[in-house]
Symmetry: C2
Subunit: 210 residues, 2 copies
């Protein structure tokens, strides 16, 4: 896995899809799969499948294809889903609580360990199986507990103050649902942005030009 | 705008960001902006800004830069945000209701006109300002009303049956939060997929290899 440094984001973004499809095949009891068949499921070319997986060292055998369970486990390891990263949620509004209630964090490499809101009326209520804490408790919590990632479900105008605090507490990884540009302020962070409104505007563009 | 056919998805995906930043600048009363300054805000190069906007015909003037209000309006038109597309929501669970309550659909080119769920207990309740209808009413509703887009917030295993119905009712545009691959089944559709769990796994990968 020494080749990882130079792997393009488009290959990386396909890995979760491989993992999802292989998990399904594994659950269906499928033992092995050809690159042609895997390509068909993934809706890419067989050569693309081989190229993608070669980035991580191959795994296939000429004339046999891929062992489904083994390839699934390899990709799980490459994704780091066994690392048990600890995540906190900042902002328990509609979206925040939807994420907390809806996503299977543990299957996706994370444990959601705490959630915070600046609204005193929410503090003490529960979401998922967590009690909502006030933002003021962030420092205390992060000092006493491992926190690897913060999930930001707060409006853009509230991000900067809380981001500065999280950064000073050593957090360098963010799943960002706000429109605030984290990596411009802190370039040594890992940020996945989900900009729902941008995606809806892109759909609008594509309908407009279809 | 005759060049639109060949514009790459990466340029298209930057358009909503241009639109957001220009809207903010316009609200702040900024009249004009250089490509250097716009590049700085966008966190891309000035040459990238010029290239991007040249795809749609330019709009800048040597030595003047861009008129903020005019460029914003041009991009709004290119995105089709004035087209008034009508959207329906399928699945009023956590995520569906978060979308309905949280997103400013009308600013993003759409009007959310109706929502549907297969859970009879939800039918008749309201979300946003809409009364939740049963999936059985889809055909009636779509026959009597303009519907351009369906937003799918339902589990993968429930998608196929409802997709077939929506397709037969003439709907060709989907904002898809499920893991079902719509464009493989119907290639003549416009689909924006939002796969939250894939994004979280990608973050996990990037932390694992950082």
């Amino acid at each position: 896995m020494s080749k990882n440094d130079s792997i393009s984001m488009s290959v990386i973004r396909r890995l979760p899809r491989y993992y999802r499809f292989l998990t399904e095949l594994d659950e269906q009891g499928v033992d092995r799969i050809s690159s042609n068949k895997l390509a068909e499921i993934m809706n890419v070319t067989a050569s693309q499948v081989r190229q993608d997986l070669n980035c991580f060292g191959g795994f296939g055998q000429q004339g046999y294809g891929y062992s489904v369970g083994q390839l699934k486990d390899e990709i799980k390891g490459i994704l780091g889903l066994n690392n048990g990263y600890k995540a906190i949620l900042i902002g328990v509004g509609n979206f925040g609580s939807a994420l907390a209630n809806h996503l299977s964090f543990e299957k996706l490499g994370f444990e959601l360990v705490a959630c915070f809101d600046n609204d005193k009326r929410k503090v003490g209520q529960t979401v998922g199986e967590m009690v909502i804490r006030h933002d003021d408790e962030l420092e205390d919590y992060c000092s006493g507990n491992q926190v690897d990632t913060a999930i930001l479900c707060i409006p853009k105008e509230n991000v900067e103050a809380i981001l500065d605090k999280l950064y000073s507490l050593g957090i360098r990884s963010f799943w960002n649902f706000s429109h605030y540009d984290i990596s411009t302020r802190y370039s040594d962070t890992v940020v996945e942005n989900v900009h729902l409104s941008d995606r809806l505007m892109t759909l609008c563009y594509r309908m407009n030009h279809n």
